[in-house]
């Protein structure tokens, strides 16, 4: 029989995993860190409802968290966004393994949601839609079950707590999942009418955080250029509609290049910030229906995807 406990552990772990999966394609570091975190969560899911954790376990988890933070700080200079996402993953790791109640559930869910929001710049549209299709119902179920369990946790009555965990799953989970998706669609329709304009460059795409696969620096020893000829194709611009392939007058793609070389690595003078100059008056709105494919995102030249435009 599907119990409250089962629904909770599956949905909570599912949300955390989906958030991590969403950003795993961002870099090799995120991929390995994400895979590690998912493995850890899969192992510790059986201990999720232990209310008292052993001292060794607690100390080990905290030590690992601090070590991870140190690693994140050391990475911050070179891979700012990676280190920020890694800190969120550390938070999920710490609170998931040492879960003590509803507050930790909330922390895990919020962190996973932030990771999932970050995934919008990392995971392409269709894959993201697939993830979202599972993420939204899982998030709603996790929050619902977490509230049900959390209310009994507040009473400090172990018997009541165990009784709630063993309750059969509430009726209406499917309805909740369907309603979540329907209301997501309705909500998206409603907010789609909102304007799109950059009013705060700090929050603009690629400004506050880097694009996935667009680092501030590049070490030739790790992800260097394999073929260093001027004819190397690094970016290809595709038109989504074949019938309009020849109708690209004035199309431009703004790109950037790493401009400093210290003998080992290329880096950008303005770290972590990819500021777009304001478009001139004679520039039109960004072109629709064009996709930029970054062929080799780690060779130091990458496309500023949202800043396609026509002149």
């Amino acid at each position: 029989m599907l119990t409250v406990r089962r629904v909770h552990e599956v949905s909570l772990t599912g949300v955390a995993c989906l958030g991590v999966v969403g950003i795993m394609s961002g870099s090799t570091f995120l991929l390995s860190a994400g895979a590690g975190l998912i493995t850890i969560m899969m192992f510790f899911v059986r201990f999720l409802y232990e209310r008292i954790h052993g001292r060794v376990k607690t100390i080990t988890v905290h030590v690992l968290t601090v070590a991870g933070l140190v690693l994140a700080i050391s990475l911050f200079k070179t891979s700012r966004i990676d280190s920020v996402l890694f800190v969120l993953m550390l938070g999920i790791f710490n609170r998931y393994v040492l879960r003590a109640g509803r507050r930790d559930d909330f922390f895990v869910l919020v962190s996973a949601s932030i990771l999932f929001a970050a995934a919008t710049t990392v995971t392409p549209g269709f894959e993201f839609a697939v993830l979202l299709f599972v993420f939204v119902p899982s998030l709603l179920m996790a929050m619902w079950m977490s509230t049900i369990i959390g209310i009994s946790e507040e009473s400090r009555d172990e018997h009541a707590y165990q009784a709630v965990l063993k309750l059969p799953r509430p009726r209406g989970l499917r309805k909740l999942a369907a309603a979540g998706l329907v209301f997501t669609g309705l909500g998206f329709t409603a907010v789609s009418i909102l304007p799109r304009f950059t009013f705060l460059p700090m929050l603009g795409a690629g400004a506050f955080v880097q694009f996935g696969g667009v680092p501030d620096s590049m070490s030739l020893t790790t992800g260097g250029v394999s073929g260093q000829s001027d004819t190397q194709v690094v970016v290809r611009v595709e038109h989504l509609s074949e019938s309009e392939q020849d109708q690209l007058p004035g199309l431009y793609a703004r790109m950037y290049a790493l401009d400093e070389f210290d003998g080992k690595s290329w880096s950008n003078q303005v770290r972590g910030v990819f500021r777009h100059p304001a478009p001139t008056k004679n520039q039109r709105d960004p072109t629709q229906g064009v996709r930029v494919v970054v062929k080799r995102p780690r060779i130091g030249v990458a496309a500023a995807v949202p800043h396609l435009g026509r002149q």
């Binding site: 709603l140 309705l186 409603a190 907010v191």
Partner: protein
């Protein structure tokens, strides 16, 4: 001027209370964090023009709507019943049984989780929230559920419970949704509990009816039946008669017939007088003590007589609790002589032919 200010304050409080929306929503601690999510997501989506962020914003807003629907379903069709358990004493926790009835419940429905019933603050309440009625229903499986809650009354008298508010953090724990409940409940609060002074520990010798109060009866002949009180031993219950009547009655035999003791209370009339309150507190406690000691207690409040043949002990205490010195009046000419009078200090003075004790503002009792 002060009265006008109070009236204006009461009027304003009532207006604000009536203007409140039927459902009130307030974020929980976690909710405050989540509260900013749609704003941040919206700003980021507009700023970056990222459709996926718009999709997430849509999901976020959708979740808010779903939360609203589910919490509304949790709050609908709830009926509340409140019952005082035992007696209410001023300054002490009084226990209430709070019963919830889920009117829309059908067998097989989901349990209700996390319903909280809280008494709202009244316009004159200066109590901290913990002193008001709060009942938590972690889980309601069936149609009915009862929990015990406590509340402290600051003073004696006829008290009306403030209106109740039903709230829940269900289903996502981010918002507290609440609604007011149509409800009226009045409670008689007895005076504050105090120690019985030694001088009043037993009525014998202090009443004109000292001989009568010590009478223990002449034999085992049946004297009669009467309602069982909380002080009667269970073996005195007359089983057959109790079954017929549907309530417990006890056998009174001549030997068991309890002696009577009379207490009188005089107040300083038309004054909010501190010793008056002390008199009532001590009178209340003395009546309880005498009743526990086996006496049938009668009471005089001024010229009004409350005979133990008619009034139960609880009823006497109710009368004391409802006494208002502002409206108290009595004639000294026909005061009873067969009782022990309690008088407030600086209040009325009785001649030597009466047995009387004076109660000071500090609660000290001395013979007149």
């Amino acid at each position: 001027m002060r009265a006008r200010i109070l009236t204006a304050r009461k009027w304003l409080f009532e207006v604000v209370r009536r203007l409140r929306p039927p459902r009130r929503i307030f974020p929980t601690k976690a909710g405050w964090v989540a509260f900013f999510a749609p704003f941040v997501l919206g700003m980021a989506a507009i700023n970056a023009g990222n459709n996926l962020l718009f999709l997430l914003l849509g999901a976020c807003l959708g979740a808010i709507v779903i939360s609203g629907i589910m919490s509304e379903r949790a709050l609908r069709g709830i009926k509340i019943g409140v019952q005082l358990l035992g007696n209410a004493r001023a300054g002490q926790n009084s226990r209430f049984g709070i019963q919830i009835e889920r009117k829309l419940f059908k067998p097989g429905d989901n349990p209700s989780f996390g319903l909280v019933i809280r008494e709202e603050r009244g316009w004159t309440d200066r109590l901290s929230h913990s002193n008001l009625l709060t009942a938590v229903f972690p889980r309601i499986e069936d149609k009915h559920e009862t929990v015990v809650a406590s509340r402290t009354f600051s003073s004696r008298g006829l008290k009306k419970l403030n209106s109740l508010e039903l709230s829940t953090i269900y289903p996502f724990g981010l918002l507290t949704k609440s609604k007011s409940l149509q409800f009226e409940h009045r409670v008689i609060v007895w005076p504050q509990a105090v120690d019985v002074p030694d001088i009043l520990a037993a009525p014998a010798g202090k009443s004109k009816k000292a001989g009568r109060t010590q009478l223990q009866g002449q034999g085992d002949d049946l004297y009669g039946l009467r309602e069982k009180t909380e002080f009667d031993a269970p073996n005195r219950v007359h089983a057959k008669r109790s079954q017929t009547l549907g309530r417990d009655v006890v056998v009174e035999r001549e030997k068991q017939e309890r002696p009577q003791a009379w207490l009188g209370v005089l107040l300083k009339a038309k004054a909010s007088h501190e010793p008056n309150e002390r008199v009532l507190e001590i009178a209340c406690e003395t009546i309880l003590h005498w009743a526990k000691s086996g006496y049938r207690v009668g009471l005089y409040i001024g010229n009004k007589r409350f005979s133990p043949a008619v009034y139960q002990t609880e009823q006497l205490l109710d009368e004391i609790a409802l006494l208002t010195p502002e409206t108290f009046s009595c004639s000294r000419d026909n005061l009873a002589h067969d009782c022990l009078w309690l008088l407030p200090a600086q209040g009325p003075v009785l001649s030597e032919e009466y047995d009387a004790c004076v109660v000071s503002a500090e609660g000290a009792v001395s013979l007149c």
